[in-house]
């Protein structure tokens, strides 16, 4: 029997009622993952033995009545979270043989809640990409059409959840890396407020933007996981010390009186007509639930992509300086001297896009250019954050598309980096301002899913999840599963 289309909630109930065991659930998931790998390539590492051992332990805990909130439930971690004793590659040749000596806080928290880790999902190298084509371990394919990309950088996590290989997976979002692949794969993804979830043990890309979140088949399941992931961590200096609300408890709150801001800048000429139609239909559903729509303009928002492509590469060039071929990671053969060791280890270990971002960042931070690029971008970022703040003075949440188009063909956008960068045109603003944002499936264009994005004020995750869940109570888009993965 396959449990693939059951939600985390249903699986948790089944485990507690002893309808099936965690070992059965885990074995079934591992079998489907193994069968999917030649087709989707959603995993970099599958943890067969560790997963089954953890499942057996969860079954004992369930029998003994000492189970945690997620006991026996299988999940997957993006291969950017450090997992003790398990290879953590970040999609790079640089970390091909890196076995993490410790668990990321997110991994430790979900483990202690009882979740079973099935493996590590494929991703764009160092989370830099919007199509998963930048992985050293090969591209991930979209389960709705395997000639298409799943989006990125958390493309493996989104594809595997869409294919129902696991009910949920972790992801990270620096410029849209949870929401964009969630939209292109027809699943639910949430990027929490900056500082809500610990970044300890996440391989750093752009530290003022990086945030961990979750991808699941429903808002309800995402809330269940986020409740366990979120919280203060003294090991992360940007973690915010603030209580975590029970995200599951407020999911069913009524929406009457909700004011939704329509982001005018998101309904631009880049948005494909059919995508826009799906978004307008979703907005009508919200009106039916008693919400009021109001147009809002964030005049500086169109500058978010250029601001991002200064700030993110600058922080990346600094963060990735740690890969020196000395302490861990790839080392070149027979270095002539120390400089040669650094240069060749990094030249060989990093892929083309990572090198492009490191060099962009190095340039904008170099002597004479810092003010013109980096400082200017941080000022524009302030303007964008102020635009959002002003908007939240008159509306509760903002809505718009997650992406301008549905999933595109593998290879279609690899020739021009800027064309690829513009995939994140609607998602980057929330990262620059540190805001939480959700993407939920809201219909199809042809056979391809479309995502609705909802952005809220800082620390409004409970409200965002409530608003997103209300849509999933009215519609069934999130229950659609790609053919061949049911």
């Amino acid at each position: 029997m396959s449990h693939s289309t059951q939600t985390l909630m249903q699986l948790a109930n089944g485990l507690r009622a002893r309808e099936f065991s965690s070992v059965e659930l885990t074995r079934d998931a591992l079998r489907r993952i193994d069968a999917s790998q030649p087709v989707l390539n959603a995993f970099i590492t599958v943890m067969h033995e560790q997963a089954l051992a953890a499942a057996a332990q969860a079954d004992r805990a369930l029998a003994a009545g000492s189970a945690g909130p997620l006991s026996g439930l299988p999940i997957v971690h993006k291969d950017l979270f450090c997992t003790q004793g398990v290879r953590t590659t970040c999609g790079s040749r640089m970390l091909e043989d890196f076995v993490s000596p410790y668990d990321a806080t997110v991994v430790a928290k979900l483990k202690s809640a009882g979740a079973i880790t099935l493996g590590k999902s494929n991703m764009d190298e160092f989370a830099m990409g919007s199509s998963n084509e930048n992985s050293f371990y090969g591209p991930v394919r979209n389960p709705w059409n395997t000639a298409l990309v799943p989006g990125g950088s958390s493309g493996g996590s989104a594809a595997l959840v869409a294919a129902r290989l696991a009910p949920a997976a972790t992801g990270t979002d620096t410029g849209g890396s949870i929401r964009q692949p969630a939209a292109l794969c027809g699943v639910t993804g949430i990027k929490p407020t900056y500082g809500r979830v610990s970044r300890y043990g996440m391989v750093a890309f752009a530290s003022s933007l990086d945030q961990a979140g979750v991808i699941a088949t429903s808002v309800e399941d995402a809330a269940l996981i986020l409740r366990e992931m979120a919280g203060f961590d003294p090991k992360d200096s940007t973690s915010v010390d603030r209580p975590v609300p029970d995200y599951c408890a407020t999911l069913d709150a009524p929406l009457a009186g909700l004011t939704i801001g329509l982001l005018q800048e998101f309904f631009d000429k880049g948005l494909e007509r059919e995508n826009e139609a799906r978004i307008r239909e979703a907005l009508a559903v919200y009106e039916g639930l008693g919400a009021r729509l109001q147009e809002v303009s964030l005049p500086n928002l169109p500058l978010s992509v250029p601001a991002y492509y200064v700030v993110a590469p600058a922080e990346c060039s600094s963060n990735l300086a740690r890969f020196d071929g000395v302490r861990y990671g790839h080392r070149c053969r027979e270095p002539r001297d120390l400089l040669d060791l650094y240069k060749r280890s990094r030249g060989e270990g990093f892929g083309a896009e990572v090198k492009r971002r490191i060099m962009t960042g190095t340039y904008v931070l170099s002597a004479g250019y810092y003010d013109a690029y980096y400082l200017k971008a941080q000022k524009v970022r302030q303007l964008i954050a102020a635009d959002f703040k002003r908007a939240f003075g008159s509306v509760d949440v903002l809505m718009g598309p997650t992406t301008p188009t549905p999933a595109f063909a593998i290879g279609a956008k690899t020739a021009d980096p800027i064309t690829m960068y513009l995939n994140d045109i609607y998602t980057i603003g929330a990262n620059l301002a540190g805001l939480p944002a959700v993407s939920i499936p809201c219909g199809f264009v042809g056979a391809l899913p479309v995502g609705l994005q909802i952005v809220g004020p800082h620390f409004s995750e409970a409200r965002l999840l409530n608003v997103a869940h209300a849509f999933q109570r009215e519609t069934a888009w999130h229950t659609r599963t790609p053919e061949g993965f049911r």
Partner: protein, 96 residues
Amino acid sequence: MALTREQIEHIAHLARLELRPQEIPVYQKSLSAILEFVGELDRADTASVTPMAHPLPGLSQRLREDAVTETDRHELFQANAPQVAAGLYLVPRVIE
């Protein structure tokens, strides 16, 4: 603005990246295009704007007590190192 071959070589040197000769024109083209693209930022009037220092308003980096909280696990950590001897990381000779 178009970056020259020499500028790309200089940036790659600063970033400690060895590039293959055929990579240089590729990065010349794409980095030039990226710099032109981010040049759009000049459109914004930022004369009276303070640059963002933290994504959450009013917050800054937290400091911790200067206390020992970790145990010595250098052997475990060095298990990932390409070359180690006697607890030390090995690199090519630096001082003759």
